[in-house]
């Protein structure tokens, strides 16, 4: 089938499209990028950290964290103390161990892949 002129031109260009290998081009570009934005970014980050630390001490953050830790620990210990292992059947315990093992194995396999 004879192609019309437009198809002829399109075919010619389609044959000449090439992908150009990087060959270090990206690295050269990254080296030439201006650093000023990075400096401002670091200054801004440092400023935010300084403000956060200052506010933490000004607003008595240490005692707040201490109180939160005591509450969480207390709740956890209370929950463990209220646990009655003899109310579970061996089947339920076995199912729990099997499910936990399956989830761990799945995550290990996924991470190794």
């Amino acid at each position: 089938m004879k192609l019309n002129d437009e198809q002829l031109v399109e075919q010619f260009f389609a044959e000449h499209i090439v992908e150009i290998a990087d060959n270090g081009f990206t690295k050269k570009v990254m080296k030439r990028l201006p650093q000023s934005a990075l400096r401002w970014n670091k200054l801004w980050t440092a400023g935010c950290w300084a403000a956060a630390i200052l506010l933490f001490f000004l607003l008595d953050g240490i005692n707040s964290v201490k109180a939160a830790f005591i509450h969480v620990t207390g709740d956890l210990l209370g929950m463990l103390a209220s646990f009655q292992f003899d109310s579970f059947s061996p089947f339920i315990i076995y199912l729990g161990i099997l499910s936990t093992t399956a989830v761990i194995a799945y995550n290990v396999i996924e991470n190794s892949n």
Partner: protein, 177 residues
């Protein structure tokens, strides 16, 4: 990660790794664009392409997301190329083009003499429109966006360019496959 996510990372967090991914993704089409405009001058194309990406990085916050990132990048590439032409006061007379072709021939990547011989017969604007459409796959509305030409003008350049190329290809014995 898609382009918008990467651009946001660069614009808001100055994440250089995100920009690295963008450069790796677009280095081939942008360098190819410059190779076609410069008729195969490899070193010049790479210099212009580097300039294009640096300009994109510096002005990344100006990308509004109204067009795709690739369209915005091609627009920068187009402006970089024509700034280079104006700076060097390159004319389209035959002698100048012939000298460029002779110099370019030394650094052609692979066997691309044919394509640049064909592109040489076109005017600068015809070459830009033709390569954007036929090599970079850009539709007419995107080409108009990139070049700031009206769509009608883009269509005229494409039509004229294809007519010239068809005659050239037939004269040089290019057969259909």
């Amino acid at each position: 990660m898609d382009d918008i996510s990467l651009v946001t990372q660069v614009a808001v967090f100055h994440n250089r790794k995100a920009f690295d991914k963008l450069v790796m993704k677009y280095q081939s089409p942008i360098r190819r664009f410059f190779l076609n405009q410069t008729l195969g001058d490899g070193p010049l194309s790479d210099d212009l392409a580097q300039e294009c990406f640096i300009k994109a990085y510096v002005n990344i916050t100006q990308f509004k997301g109204l067009s795709g990132f690739s369209t915005w990048l091609y627009r920068i590439a187009y402006n970089v190329y024509y700034d280079h032409v104006r700076r060097n006061k390159l004319t389209s007379d035959i002698d100048t083009v012939e000298v460029r072709r002779m110099n370019a021939g030394q650094s052609v990547i692979g066997e691309r003499i044919d394509i640049y011989g064909a592109l040489e017969i076109l005017s600068e604007t015809e070459r830009t429109c033709i390569t954007l459409q036929l090599m970079e796959g850009q539709p007419i509305d995107k080409i108009a966006d990139i070049t700031h030409f009206p769509q009608g003008t883009v269509k005229s350049h494409l039509s004229r360019g294809k007519q010239k190329l068809a005659i050239y290809l037939k004269q040089n014995g290019y057969e259909t496959k």
